[in-house]
């Protein structure tokens, strides 16, 4: 049972990551591979604030979101100049640069040692050290994020995003400032990833750079491609599927080192097979 709660919390956190990335990749058609960087920024900001000050978790979370949004704005400004393959590659680059900062800015992040001893959140004097209570918090935030995303994609703003994906130039002809739209959704998506990062940091109570490598971005991308681009429920489905699937491998009885590699083999194969036979994913509404 504790194990199932653990998995459910992970599904919740990756659900938030999937939903937020889908806004950029699925709805706006920008292949961003830098989501783990924003996830990490949120996690590190929360970790540093909680271990070095007596701030409340939710204040730390909001500050983390704020810091991440500012950085995402700067990164988004640079990325907004690129299209297609170049966009993907540029976003790769930012993931690697931010990972280097986590790894090498030792006075702030303690480098590869990571930051231990992060506090769990407290609500009205109730300390969420119990995993079940923490799960409730994660689910509440997941629900909030889901409805926020649904509100966005169903609004006129969301329709403009889909129009950018289909034909950006046409939209520019109609007088839409598409760069502005792309920037807003990019920053918003990063901010939500930071929320997931904060939850992750206080759940595991430890952060280190290895959780935010490029592969993590690829994993989140795999979640939304499997679930389906431009479909919010698809992102949740993808997170559920990709978190639970490797757990089955564990039961097959591989040693843990090999099981970790097997996960990557499975993720890689899923990407290839999906591209070959079902590029829109399980329930997607948009093909890359």
């Amino acid at each position: 049972m504790p194990y199932l709660i653990h998995l459910a919390i992970l599904v919740g956190i990756y659900g938030i990551l999937g939903l937020s990335l889908n806004l950029v990749v699925g709805y706006t058609g920008l292949l961003s591979v830098t989501h783990a960087a924003f996830y990490g920024l949120g996690a590190y900001a929360t970790a540093i604030l909680l271990t070095s000050t007596g701030l409340n978790f939710f204040v730390a979370l909001l500050l983390g979101v704020l810091i991440t949004s500012v950085l995402a704005l700067l990164i988004g400004l640079v990325l907004s100049r690129f299209h297609g393959d170049y966009y993907a590659l540029g976003s790769f680059g930012f993931n690697i640069i931010i990972y280097s900062v986590f790894l090498n800015w030792q006075s702030l992040t303690r480098g590869p040692l990571g930051i231990p001893g992060i506090r769990r959140p407290e609500i009205f004097g109730l300390n969420l050290t119990d995993n079940f209570h923490f799960l409730l918090l994660v689910l509440a935030i997941l629900l909030l994020v889901y409805f926020l995303c649904r509100f966005i994609v169903n609004s006129s703003f969301g329709r403009a995003l889909r129009a950018i994906r289909e034909d950006e130039q046409a939209l520019q002809v109609f007088g839409y400032r598409t760069t502005f739209y792309k920037l807003i959704i990019f920053v918003l998506s990063a901010a939500l990833a930071a929320v997931a990062g904060s939850l992750f940091a206080s759940y595991i109570t430890f952060v280190d750079p290895s959780s935010f490598v490029l592969f993590e971005s690829i994993f989140i991308l795999a979640i939304i491609i499997l679930g389906g681009l431009a479909n919010l429920r698809g992102s949740l489905l993808g997170a559920l599927f990709l978190i639970l699937l490797p757990e089955l491998l564990r039961f097959v009885g591989f040693p843990s080192d090999i099981a970790a590699q097997m996960r990557q083999v499975v993720y890689g194969l899923i990407l290839v097979i999906l591209m070959l036979y079902r590029p829109q994913g399980l329930v997607g509404e948009y093909k890359l």
Binding site: L31, V78, R81, F82, G84, D85, Y86, A88, L89, G90, F92, G93, F94, I96, I97, S100, V101, L103, N104, L214, F215, I218, L221, I225, D257, I258, Q261, M262, R263, Q264, V265, Y267, G268, L269, I270, L271, V272, I273, M275, L276, P279, K287, L288
Partner: protein, 286 residues
């Protein structure tokens, strides 16, 4: 021995490695027009091929190297045959191809880690000879790297410009439809391009393995450096890629001298992003 000659030498050696990788990458990109990330795993396949044949099975060195390079080429060919060709038939977008190549890369890299463990290994047998050039030290392996980089650049330039087959490759790159109409077997050409590029990548991986060492994740870093070199130089342009590679090697080595070694990758990507912002077409336009 001053620091400057050594820095220059290191820059040139890094440049030669990046040259090879950028050449292979450019060849694929200019023919099929997508970022083939699976190319990165070819370096690891080359490196581990030699490790397996030479260190575990015990074949002689030359034969192991040749077989490892051919193995990398074969994997490149198979990736095209089983994945990219069906996707091309279906007129899949470049994004689909990119994601598929990412999948191949991720899966094969993990397979290598399962087969050979994810530990860092070294290929070279003990201390090699160290030579002195312009006041800096250079190992025998590094001399081979320089020679290989130069040789591959010249051979590729000759092959693409002076032979019928090479010109056919260029024709496919210019316009696949038209090339097919005039009777070029485009599938065969593209298969060959994937084989050749993967083999060049494999060679680069073998050389890196003898110079520093191998680990399953070595490919991504090398691939990204090659891609940066190719873009900085002007994508699809052979000589541009070479110049970009040496520029990258120089910026990296002088950068880590001024800042510190851990920031090497960040420096490389900073260079890329500066170029993408201010000169997205690269040094040379195609």
């Amino acid at each position: 021995m001053g620091i400057l000659p050594q820095l220059i030498l290191n820059s040139i050696i890094a440049g030669a490695i990046y040259t090879m990788i950028a050449l292979g990458f450019n060849l694929i990109y200019s023919t099929v027009k997508f970022f083939d990330l699976s190319y990165g795993v070819m370096m690891a396949i080359g490196g581990y091929g030699v490790y397996w044949l030479y260190k575990i099975i015990g074949l002689n060195l030359g034969l192991s190297v040749v077989l490892a390079i051919l193995l990398a080429g074969l994997v490149g060919y198979l990736a095209d045959y089983f994945v990219y060709r069906p996707l091309r038939r279906r007129k899949a977008s470049t994004m689909v191809l990119l994601v598929a190549s990412l999948g191949i890369f991720t899966a094969l890299q993990a397979v290598i880690a399962i087969l050979f463990s994810s530990q860092f290994q070294t290929l070279s047998a003990g201390e090699g000879k160290i030579y002195e050039v312009i006041g800096g030290a250079i190992t025998g392996v590094q001399l081979v790297i320089l020679a290989s980089g130069l040789l591959i650049m010249l051979a590729l330039a000759f092959f693409l410009n002076r032979t019928r087959f090479g010109r056919a490759i260029k024709a496919v790159g210019d316009d696949e439809e038209v090339a097919r109409v005039v009777g070029i077997n485009t599938d065969k050409i593209i298969s060959f391009v994937f084989f050749l590029s993967a083999a060049i990548g494999g060679l680069a991986g073998v050389l890196v393995g003898f110079d520093t060492g191998i680990e399953p994740t070595m490919g991504l870093n090398l691939l990204l450096k090659g891609v940066i070199a190719a873009i900085v130089g002007g994508i699809g342009n052979i000589y541009g890629g070479v110049l970009g590679a040496f520029l990258l090697g120089t910026v990296e080595n002088f950068g880590i001298w001024q800042i510190s070694g851990e920031w090497k990758d960040a420096i490389a990507f900073a260079l890329l992003i500066v170029f993408l912002i201010f000169r997205p077409q690269g040094l040379f336009k195609r």
